[in-house]
């Protein structure tokens, strides 16, 4: 009897650990590449729509000559903007590496572009957390 309980508890812990590692995998992959977390947890169509939406939003933001925030900014609003941009994961890293995005907003639509890029990153945070929730069974 005691042995059975022990085995069940051990199996539960293993399953929980596996579920947890899959959850963090989906979270990190989803952050790096929009929608990839959902593909990992076998929700490919959701992943595709998320990828198209978030990537389009970020790319259009850059195409509107939006500003991409730098990591070493001193002001609190710039730091928050950087955190938002960073949410886009590899999109932000690649765009920054290729020197896309303007340092200062010069035209009216560029301000919208800046917001597009930041919001794309924030939406990707939501998507990555959603993939994590699916992986750990909190959401179907």
């Amino acid at each position: 009897m005691a042995s059975n309980v022990q085995v069940t508890a051990k199996g539960g812990v293993n399953a929980e650990t596996r579920s947890s590692s899959a959850g963090y995998g989906a979270l990190i992959l989803g952050w790096l590449l929009p929608g990839a977390g959902h593909v990992l947890v076998k929700r490919p169509f959701r992943g595709l729509f998320l990828f198209l939406s978030i990537t389009s939003m970020f790319v259009l933001g850059v195409a509107m000559q939006g500003k991409l925030y730098a990591p070493n900014a001193g002001e609190i609003l710039n730091i928050l903007g950087f955190v938002g941009d960073l949410g886009a994961g590899l999109l932000y890293i690649v765009a920054k590496a290729l020197d896309f995005g303007h340092g200062a907003v010069q035209i009216a639509t560029a301000d919208y572009g800046t917001k597009f890029a930041v919001v794309a990153g924030l939406l990707n945070f939501i998507a990555a957390i959603d993939a994590h929730n699916i992986a750990i069974g909190r959401k179907s």
Partner: protein
């Protein structure tokens, strides 16, 4: 590569992308996702048009 949409077109694009993500992440079934996404899109557009009219009246 430069993209310069009108202000309203920019709002519509923003609403479409944000609504898709909200729909997928905030609901579990496909039907509920579509309904919630459309609801979010409608609320984005109504809020923008409403805010535009409010600003128009303030300016007068």
């Amino acid at each position: 590569m430069t993209f310069a949409p009108s202000h309203f077109a920019a709002v519509l694009l923003f609403a479409v992308f944000a609504s898709v993500v909200f729909g997928i992440t905030q609901r579990s079934t496909t039907r509920a996702m579509v309904r919630y996404g459309l609801c979010c899109f409608a609320m984005f557009v109504v809020a923008v048009v409403g805010a535009g009219w409010i600003m128009w009246f303030i300016r007068r």
